[in-house]
């Protein structure tokens, strides 16, 4: 039997996916702004963040209305809980892309540091994880969600590697300290994006299987 709430659920899902697309766009442009030293592009990402914030509020309102009117149970309840946890994660990821862009603008006022090869790798890894996290939500694919969670270790390792490379530059020449610290921050931002993708995937597993795998050892999740 079709239920009229299914339409509300679809609309909320659609809204979340449109928000997700905007977040992915912000990440992609923050990476390009970083690699191409493009201040203009960085400014655009920062400007567009308000739109993502508005979408987060709209999703929150729609979801609370759904709870008030529908009193969801079982998979509907897990869906609502998932939406309410995924949405702020996405908003935070977008904020991190905005933070990357703020550091890019500062970096572009200083001479360029030698390339840190691990940083673009880390950025791409985080971008891929966010994309796959959203895909796993759309497809209700718990296996994909678990594979994203496993990738978090790679992101952590790349963060550590880029930090070590940057530390070497700082030791080589004190003039490198300022840009290297900003780049260290950027590394941390991408690493946090990967964490956000992991959190989304934990909720996808919960949505599909009803199993809370957060804070449990890998063999149990």
């Amino acid at each position: 039997m079709a239920r009229h709430f299914d339409k509300d659920i679809e609309e909320i899902k659609d809204l979340l996916l449109r928000m997700g697309a905007k977040v992915e766009h912000s990440i992609a442009h923050s990476i390009r702004a970083l690699l191409e030293r493009d201040t203009l592009m960085a400014e655009e990402v920062i400007e567009r963040d308000d739109e993502i914030d508005r979408m987060e509020v709209e999703i929150d309102q729609r979801t609370i209305e759904l709870i008030a009117k529908m009193q969801p149970a079982a998979v509907d309840l897990r869906f609502v809980a998932t939406i309410m946890k995924i949405t702020p994660e996405l908003e935070r990821i977008a904020d991190l892309a905005q933070d990357v862009c703020e550091r890019v603008i500062e970096l572009n006022r200083e001479p360029q540091l030698k390339p840190v090869t691990q940083l673009p790798q880390l950025a791409e890894s985080a971008q891929k994880m966010v994309r796959e996290a959203l895909d796993s939500f759309v497809r209700g694919d718990a296996d994909l969600a678990r594979s994203v969670i496993r990738q978090d270790d790679i992101a952590d390792a790349l963060t550590e590697d880029s930090f070590r490379a940057l530390l070497t530059y700082m030791l080589e020449n004190p003039r490198n300290i300022s840009p290297a610290i900003r780049l260290t921050f950027i590394g941390k931002y991408f690493e946090r994006m990967a964490d956000g993708a992991t959190n989304i995937c934990e909720m996808v597993v919960y949505l599909v299987e009803g199993k809370m795998i957060r804070h449990s050892p890998p063999e149990e999740s």
């Binding site: 039997m1 079709a2 239920r3 008030a68 009117k69 529908m70 009193q71």
Partner: protein, 280 residues
């Protein structure tokens, strides 16, 4: 050291004495089908409804909620003058449908009840066939054209989401249908005389959860064509099916507004206490 204690969550609702009842009516974009103004109702000398004011928008579902004896069913039955048949009962004030006061002299109560159909808590099919139940109102209304009656029977059963289950057994007794099917048959019977408004008095309270869900979905679909007023004891049902909710208490309308507001952020403390199950 300060002891950390959990404080009860305090509501910022205003506590309005019932004597000064207020309504929290947000102007609706849809025009009012039913306009109620200063409506009082008496059983003998006992006043059971006190100065009700509300507008029911066209093609929306309006739910009436409140504890037993709050007057919601009396109010519902006032909308098609079903209370006329009660000895010693009388009404003051105005209930307008499409701008005409249904209580003024010269209003034909039978024609009014054709325009304002009613579905009761307990399904009450006639001991006749499914077909004859739906055709009944048309026949007593004077319609004789068989083909036309056939068309309307099918259309009404379709609108009541019963056609697929009943089309091969139209001549079977209506009493052989399940409780949920019987209730949908009563809805089909009400629809067959082409009403504009449907009044429903706890239409699902005697049904199991699946049959209830079907009735709720049906109510949601029917609002495309009809203005619906439903009395329900089940607050969750009011939340699920209605666009607007009116909360009655001791014969007064305490609060009236959009359903989502009534359930997420009611303005009156009494409404909040009722919808959160603190009394009732």
């Amino acid at each position: 050291m300060t002891a950390l204690t959990m404080q009860p969550i305090r509501s910022n609702r205003t506590e309005v004495p019932l004597m000064n009842q207020t309504t929290n009516d947000v102007a609706s974009a849809t025009p009012a089908k039913i306009h109620v103004q200063d409506f009082d109702f008496y059983y003998g000398d006992v006043k059971t409804l006190h100065g009700i004011n509300l507008d029911v928008p066209e093609r929306q579902v309006t739910a009436l909620i409140g504890p037993s004896g709050c007057g919601k069913s009396t109010f519902l039955r006032s909308i098609n003058r079903m209370n006329d048949i009660i000895v010693d009962a009388h009404a003051d004030g105005v209930i307008e449908i499409d701008g005409r006061n249904i209580y003024e002299s010269g209003v034909d109560a039978v024609e009014l009840r054709r325009r304002v159909g009613m579905v009761f808590q307990k399904s009450n099919p006639f001991p006749k066939s499914i077909y004859d139940n739906v055709a009944y109102g048309m026949r007593i209304g004077g319609l004789r054209n068989k083909r036309r009656i056939n068309e309307i029977v099918e259309k009404s059963l379709r609108r009541a989401a019963l056609w697929d289950e009943a089309k091969d057994r139209l001549q079977d007794s209506a009493l052989a249908l399940s409780g949920g099917q019987q209730q949908r048959l009563c809805i089909a019977r009400a629809l067959a005389v082409d009403p504009e408004i449907l009044l429903m008095d706890e239409p699902a309270s005697a049904l199991d959860p699946i049959a209830t869900a079907k009735i709720e979905e049906l109510i949601y679909e029917l609002k495309d064509n009809y203005t619906i007023v439903i009395v329900t004891h089940n607050m969750q049902q009011a939340a699920r099916v209605s666009d607007r909710t009116a909360f009655f208490m001791l014969g007064k309308l305490v609060e009236y507004g959009e359903t989502k507001t009534m359930f997420m952020n009611p303005q009156q403390k009494m409404t909040e206490d009722y919808v959160t199950g603190r009394f009732g």
